[in-house]
């Protein structure tokens, strides 16, 4: 199995605050890496750094063996290989569902209108959203919006999908319809890195679970190891709190 993403000794700070501290991570092809940890532990920043939305202070990011943390790299070209889904959906409100999905295939990949539309329609049908194609995002429920956002990000066939707490803005009833798409994508062999607070979901999809605390990975391993039998006292403490909040 080839390595898709490799992070070597990443450091990132905002002013005096060190958000990522000497963090390393390897993501093999067709695997899902789940980042868990309290808010402020650096999960989102890590994903934004991978996507080059933030510049790292030190270390290296390699995508398919090529360093993308090089300032001379064409960031647009790198981002074409990466899909990103945000906590707040970030759909384009002035475009219909279909237009949201076809924008990048047409403008970035140079596909024809028909080609892009057919591909988008196929994806919408697959995830039970075919009837929403011509709706504007504000007519959709949060769960539907996030599903569209996921479809939008996979419409460009990314090499790696980054999911940043994609269910945190949803009520519990809508969470499952979003997570089931991610399960399907995982089943398709999509390589992904995701930050989540849904421990049950993490157990289902994760090939590796990483517990982040103060910008570093304190514990990593299979979902069973990290989530059921954590060794690090801080992981144990975090999971205990999650458990008390009823999210495990």
């Amino acid at each position: 199995m080839s390595t898709v993403l490799e992070l070597k000794n990443i450091r990132k700070s905002f002013g005096a605050e060190v958000v990522l501290n000497n963090l390393s991570l390897t993501v093999p092809e067709h695997t899902a890496t789940v980042l868990i940890g309290a808010s402020g532990s650096g999960k989102s920043t890590l994903l934004r750094c991978i996507n080059l939305l933030e510049t790292i202070d030190d270390g290296q990011i390699l995508l398919d063996g090529k360093e993308i943390s090089d300032p001379l790299i064409n960031v647009d070209e790198v981002r074409r290989k990466l899909g990103m889904v945000f906590q707040s959906f970030n759909l384009f409100p002035h475009k219909t569902v279909l237009e949201n999905i076809t924008l990048a295939p047409i403008k970035v990949q140079g596909k024809s209108q028909e080609e892009a539309r057919d591909a988008a329609t196929a994806l919408l049908s697959r995830f039970d959203l075919a009837d929403k194609a011509d709706q504007y995002p504000d007519r959709l429920s949060g769960g539907q919006q996030q599903r569209v956002a996921i479809i939008r990000s996979i419409a460009v066939n990314p090499r790696l999908l980054l999911l940043d707490e994609i269910t945190s803005a949803l009520d519990p009833v809508l969470v499952n319809e979003v997570l089931s798409i991610v399960r399907d994508l995982k089943h398709d062999g999509m390589t992904m890195v995701l930050a989540t607070h849904e421990m049950g979901f993490a157990t289902q999809v994760a090939d590796e679970v990483c517990f982040l605390e103060s910008g570093n990975i304190l514990e990593r391993g299979s979902a069973t190891d990290v989530l059921q039998n954590p060794k690090n006292p801080q992981t144990q403490e975090f999971l205990k709190r999650v458990h008390q909040a009823g999210r495990l």
Partner: protein, 288 residues
């Protein structure tokens, strides 16, 4: 989904009582409004008509016969104002968009233009329009440049366009800045370049957002085209002025004012409606 059929519903006796009370309240409010309007407007009318100079004002400002006589020349002048508004408006739209984009760009190649655009906006937004009209109208012909028209209508339009481009550029720029950074992040993470992000994601939303203030500026533009009359352009204001100074009867000014109002009032009403639709679209729920 629950059935939400309204046809099978008939109001309860309590609701019927409430409807009766509501009608009574509405009737009372209508009466109060009518009495209040009658008192206020009536008093104003009485004060106006009983003022010592009313007879003179009536003959020098509201001479209907003379008004009819000058109407064709004033409306001919108004046509100049309208042409100026529409041709100028188109030019303003293009220039202002360019200025707004330059002021928000981060491209290093365009850095000098960004500074120039900022200086331009500072100057033309800060100086009174009438001064710009005088400077352009009398200054440019004095330069004696070949190929530059010294036609007053052209120069007047240029002056108005120069000034309004600065105003409108700021309105568009504020629209661009009001789009949340997460929209840009989403577009960039799909692989769109910064130019594509501006064109397909940021700008369409920004323009939609600033349509009401732009309509507002459009109404102001129509009114301010009257200022080019100081260069000697025979617009509605100038036509009225010529007639008024010929006979010392000021009715032509009133005619011009009414003609402007006939255009600007519907435009402002339309703007208000656009603003209302904008706000109701943003706050999707509630009856307030």
């Amino acid at each position: 989904m629950t059935e939400r059929n309204n046809s099978a519903w008939s109001p309860s006796s309590r609701e019927i009582e409430r409807q009766v009370s509501r009608r009574a309240i509405n009737r009372k409010q209508a009466i109060i409004a009518a009495v209040s309007s009658f008192l206020v407007l009536g008093t104003l009318a009485v004060v106006l008509v009983s003022s010592p100079g009313w007879q003179t004002v009536k003959t020098t400002f509201f001479d209907i016969e003379y008004g009819k006589e000058v109407f064709p020349t004033v409306i001919k002048g108004l046509w100049i104002n309208l042409q100026l508004t529409f041709i100028g408006g188109a030019a303003i739209g293009v220039i202002a968009l360019g200025l707004a984009l330059l002021r928000t760009t981060k491209s290093p190649t365009l850095t000098p233009f960004r500074y120039l655009a900022t200086a331009y906006v500072d100057i033309f937004r800060g100086a009174p329009l009438i001064l710009i009209i005088l400077l352009v109208g009398f200054g440019v012909p004095a330069l004696g440049l070949k190929g530059i028209s010294s036609n007053v209508i052209f120069l007047g339009t240029v002056a108005v366009v120069l000034t309004y481009s600065a105003y409108v550029a700021e309105v568009i720029r504020s629209g661009i800045l009001s789009i949340h950074p997460s929209q840009r992040a989403a577009a960039r993470s799909l692989g769109l370049s910064s130019g594509q992000t501006m064109r397909f994601v940021v700008l369409p939303q920004a323009i939609r957002r600033v349509v009401p203030p732009l309509l507002n500026d459009f109404v102001s533009l129509l009114k301010d085209t009257g200022l080019v009359s100081i260069l000697g352009v025979t617009d509605a204001v100038r036509a009225a002025q010529i007639n008024a100074s010929r006979t010392f009867n000021y009715t032509p000014y009133v005619v011009a004012a009414i003609l402007f109002l006939l255009i600007t009032i519907p435009m402002t009403r339309y703007t208000d409606r656009a603003i209302r639709q904008r706000t109701s679209a943003q706050s999707s729920e509630g009856a307030i």
